[in-house]
């Protein structure tokens, strides 16, 4: 069997077996992890949560506990309206009755405080796992209609 003399073909078979094993193990531990997180409701940690309506009103809810940013918002007692985009997560349409406005090109975005100032949150609020004592603010930002860039909080 000429196939046996091809070392690369044999190596490919071995790597294929390893990949199947690793994928099965990954799937198993991922399901175990998500199941565990669902059962214990995540691991809530305190964060400094703020909201800025871009009209001079800024409120802080320090010490709010939650595992994800969305859970923190609910824990803080906010009235949040969202649209689900499946695995992409939740898109926030309105907070405490203030809805996004296409006419004024304004929408809600969240920012986290870093050593260099406010950094825009890179994911949906229900997908973001918060860190202990992290400072996060929701800002009703103006969105540049040409670049889709959001104005950071002052």
């Amino acid at each position: 069997m000429a196939f046996l003399r091809n070392k690369w073909a044999l190596a490919t078979l071995v790597v294929l077996c390893w990949a199947i094993t690793a994928s099965l193990a990954l799937g198993y531990y991922y399901y175990q992890y998500t199941d565990l997180v669902d059962r214990i409701g995540g691991s809530p940690v305190p964060v400094n949560l703020g909201i800025d309506y871009a009209n001079g009103t800024r409120q802080w809810f320090n010490g709010t506990k939650g595992a994800t940013l969305h859970k923190c918002m609910i824990q803080a007692g906010w009235d949040v309206e969202v649209t689900s985009f499946g695995v992409m997560g939740l898109y926030v349409n309105s907070i405490n009755g203030v809805e996004e406005s296409i006419e004024e090109s304004k929408s809600w975005g969240w920012w986290t405080w870093t050593d260099y100032g406010w950094a825009h949150g890179g994911s949906a609020c229900d997908k973001y796992i918060v860190s202990t004592d992290e400072t996060i603010i929701w800002y009703y930002s103006y969105v540049d209609p040409t670049t889709w860039e959001m104005t950071p909080p002052p």
């Binding site: 070392k7 044999l10 077996c17 094993t21 099965l24 193990a25 198993y28 399901y31």
Partner: protein
């Protein structure tokens, strides 16, 4: 089918059933898959498949883990893949000198054991999930530790034991035939 083939099938089936009961305390560690494969390799795909079916026909009915007809049928017919592929490989490797390519053949047999076990486990998991109304993906994922153990143990058995057993069995059969005639 001559007398010798019948006796070989009966012996290998008995070996499968006996080793299954002996290893009943270790889930998914089975010598049966290897015996069926070797049976197919040395005596042809249909003999191999037949050994698989007969072994499960006996062991599956008096199974210490319980008897579920759908799962039993699935395991019985999935087991044939070891014998069928063993038989096809046996025909292709008939002229190969085992001493010259011992390492390559061991690796090849090991990976074959792994891949055949993956197919076997996938089929039986799908049938198990359908029978008990469990989502198929969940059945596969939650059964992953058993599947991995089954695949790795079979890869090790196929890889290490195939060449000595096949070589010994072929020598034995050749000698028996000389004696017979």
């Amino acid at each position: 089918m001559n007398t010798m083939k019948v006796s070989i099938i009966a012996t290998l089936v008995a070996l499968c059933v006996a080793t299954n009961y002996a290893l009943v305390g270790v889930p998914n560690l089975k010598a049966m898959d290897f015996i069926v494969f070797v049976g197919g390799f040395c005596f042809g795909p249909f003999v191999g498949a037949f050994i698989g079916i007969l072994s499960w026909a006996v062991y599956g009915v008096v199974n210490p883990h319980g008897f579920v007809p759908q799962v039993w049928l699935a395991t019985m017919f999935s087991e044939t893949i070891y014998g069928l592929l063993g038989g096809l490989l046996g025909k292709n490797l008939a002229l190969t000198n085992f001493n010259n390519e011992r390492f390559e053949l061991s690796v090849f047999f090991g990976t074959m054991g792994f891949i055949l076990t993956l197919i076997y486990d996938l089929i039986t998991n799908v049938v198990y999930a359908s029978t008990f109304g469990i989502p198929i993906i969940a059945a596969i994922v939650f059964g992953a530790p058993f599947t991995i153990f089954h695949q790795v143990s079979n890869a090790a058995i196929f890889g290490v034991v195939s060449i000595p057993v096949i070589a010994g069995l072929k020598k034995f059969v050749r000698r028996s035939m000389v004696w017979h005639f």
